[in-house]
Amino acid sequence: MADTHPVDASDLEPVDKSALKVSDQVAIEIIDMNKWYGQFHVLRDINLTVRRGERIVIAGPSGSGKSTLIRCINRLEEHQKGKIIVDGVELTSDLKNIDKVRSEVGMVFQHFNLFPHLTILENCTLAPIWVRKVPKKEAEETAMHYLRKVKIPEQALKYPGQLSGGQQQRVAIARSLCMKPRIMLFDEPTSALDPEMIKEVLDTMIELAEEGMTMLCVTHEMGFAQAVANRVIFMDQGQIVEQNEPREFFNNPRNERTKLFLSQILGH
């Protein structure tokens, strides 16, 4: 997508990446994973090991399968071949396993997907109350804690339709955090936002990274990738084409396709 508004790394709060530890524990393991939409081979031989505390940015042209990849990790999409193991639980058609994985993995969408008929607070307490069986009062306290963290506690009793896009996306992040997930997936979280609101969402994500959350981000915000990621993955035609730590990735891309992509999105 060429019409994105890359935020310069220097705009964002500096992150001391050396302070962010990556443990040896494996959070997600994807082995020889393939996915088809009918006859169309969307994901081809994906192999990826994500360790706890890693912050991975997945980049690539549209249609390269990057969104599909992270949507497979919480089974919003089904894979047809290979294995995906999240937190030691393998994703199969077993519904109980799927719900277990989903309750441990938070997801933030491009279009927020807040529930418009519920208030901000109810959006945040719904899953803890019904999935985790947390008492209502405790769930509300947790929700307010995370709403303060994303800096919109005063909006708690409003409805999503009354908030700006950036605020809605921060609520969506808070809603995921209320489930106390161990892994967070971000599917182009800033692509639907006005330029003025992108930074507030990225700042929230950076804060999350600094607390050691395991994160997988599909994004076009290369400034964010440089500031936060410890690994950048580049995908094209359903395959992982290149991966590297960010500085090398941006300064020394090896694959021709990566070079072309970077020259196009950073060129102007």
């Binding site: 969408f109 279009h111 807040l114 899953a127 009354q162 809603r175 489930m179």
Partner: protein, 429 residues
């Protein structure tokens, strides 16, 4: 070349709109007299209203309340207002209003349907207005049993035995919960139905016969009958419609086929054929000696008919929901039933409110079709009243009265749905 650089030094504050654009004058100018064509249309409309009113107003102004036959009515009108004057003969309503409301229900027990009618509003209130205490819903839940008992009488243990069917179903649900996810609802449904068919009746007969004197279905009539069929049909067609709509979108082929088959069959058949089946044919398929109440049969048919329409209305609401709502609910780990109940259905139903109320109103008016199979609903009563030699020839007053009563109910439903739409709107500041 001109200098294009320009910068605003101070921002403008808001100002009041011009006087000609606000107030009654502004409204009339904008809506009634904006163009010559508009002026002509306004004058023509006023003329039409005058013409109508000049006929309708005297008709009611000359109305006669005290008379024992239609001819007497006409005599009184002619005597008081002169030969050729028209006047409504409302005496027929005055004489027959009890029949219009209660049919042939024993007069000593008129308090029973009246009480049931009042309690209906108590039961409806917490359903319709969410600001009322949620504990009142317990009364709403037992109201159908109470109303049945008040209307038909008989042993109090019969409705209680029916309600125990739900308890049995719930127990079965909890027991089956350890099994695969399709098992609990299936077990609950099977156990409940088995309980109703084979256990409830004998159990109630076993217990002492404490209760109200029984009233036969054939004594029911008038608005009471319309209300009984209409309200029950409305109450049951919505949940059934929801299940059918979900079934139609289900991934499970068997469930989907049953739902599609049911919806398409019922929708493809006129209601009147279903009522005739209920009236004449159903007993042939029953074991000899079964007494399957005619009102119950009619209610079942009307409910199934409305449920098929309801299912399609709700399916429209479901289809209008963006996929992101399903994904949002899924990504938080809510299971199918939780996602459906907490996220999907509240929104789908809200979108479908106009269509749902449309179906409700249609169902309520369709209850007049039971006149065809010999039940004395208000329309059936009109036929029998007009067959009486005293009231032979009277038309407008009777149909007008029945129409007016139906209008009140249907208009009430329509207004409520508009109120609900306003209240559920969450996208405004």
């Amino acid at each position: 070349m001109d200098d294009v650089a320009w910068t605003r030094t101070e921002m403008l504050g808001p100002e009041a709109p011009p006087a000609s654009a606000v107030g009654i004058v502004g409204w009339m100018r904008a809506n009634l007299f904006s163009t010559w064509l508009n002026v002509i249309l306004t004058v023509a409309a006023l003329g039409a209203i005058w013409l109508l009113a000049s006929h309708i107003v005297p008709f009611f102004a000359h109305s006669v309340w005290n008379a024992s036959s239609y001819s007497e009515c006409r005599e009184i009108v002619a005597r008081t207002w002169g030969e050729g004057a028209s006047g409504a003969c409302l005496a027929v309503i005055r004489e027959r209003w009890k029949q219009f409301f209660f049919g042939f229900y024993p007069a000593d027990y008129y308090w029973r349907p009246t009480l049931a009618f009042i309690l209906m509003f108590v039961a409806l209130a917490p359903v319709l207005f969410s600001s009322l205490p949620r504990k009142m819903l317990w009364f709403s839940a037992i109201f159908p049993g109470v109303a049945y008992w008040l209307l038909w009488g008989g042993s109090i243990f019969f409705p209680i035995a029916i309600y125990l069917g739900f308890v049995a179903g719930y127990v079965a649900f909890r027991v089956a919960e350890r099994g695969p996810s399709f098992l609990p609802p299936l077990a609950a449904a099977v156990v409940t139905i088995v309980w109703w068919l084979f256990i409830a009746g004998p159990l109630a007969n076993l217990l002492p016969d404490i209760g109200l004197p029984a009233v036969q279905s054939k004594q029911f009539g008038g608005f009471m009958l319309s209300m009984t069929i209409g309200v029950t049909g409305i109450a049951f067609s919505l949940p059934l419609g929801v299940l059918l709509a979900l079934g139609r979108r289900s991934d499970m082929l068997f469930v989907k086929w049953i739902s599609v088959g049911f919806i398409e069959f019922i929708r493809g058949v006129p209601l009147i054929t279903l009522l005739l089946v209920a009236s004449f044919l159903l007993n042939i398929f029953m074991p000899p000696g079964t007494n399957f109440d005619i009102i119950l049969r009619v209610i079942i048919m009307v409910t199934l008919f409305a449920a098929a329409y309801m299912a399609e209305v709700i399916r429209g609401g479901l289809a209008a929901l963006p996929r992101g709502q399903y994904e949002g609910a899924d990504s938080l780990g809510l299971n199918y039933w939780q996602a459906t109940r907490l996220v999907i259905m509240p929104q789908a139903l809200k979108i479908s409110i106009p269509g749902i109320v449309n179906t409700f109103i249609g169902l309520f008016k369709d209850t007049t079709l039971v006149a065809i199979i010999g039940l004395l609903d208000p329309v059936g009563l009109i036929t029998s009243i007009r067959a009486n030699s005293a009231w032979n020839g009277i038309v407008w007053e009777l149909y007008g009265f029945v129409g007016f009563m139906f209008f009140i109910c249907c208009f009430g439903m329509s207004r409520y749905s508009q109120y609900l739409e306003r209240r559920l709107r969450t996208d405004r500041h």
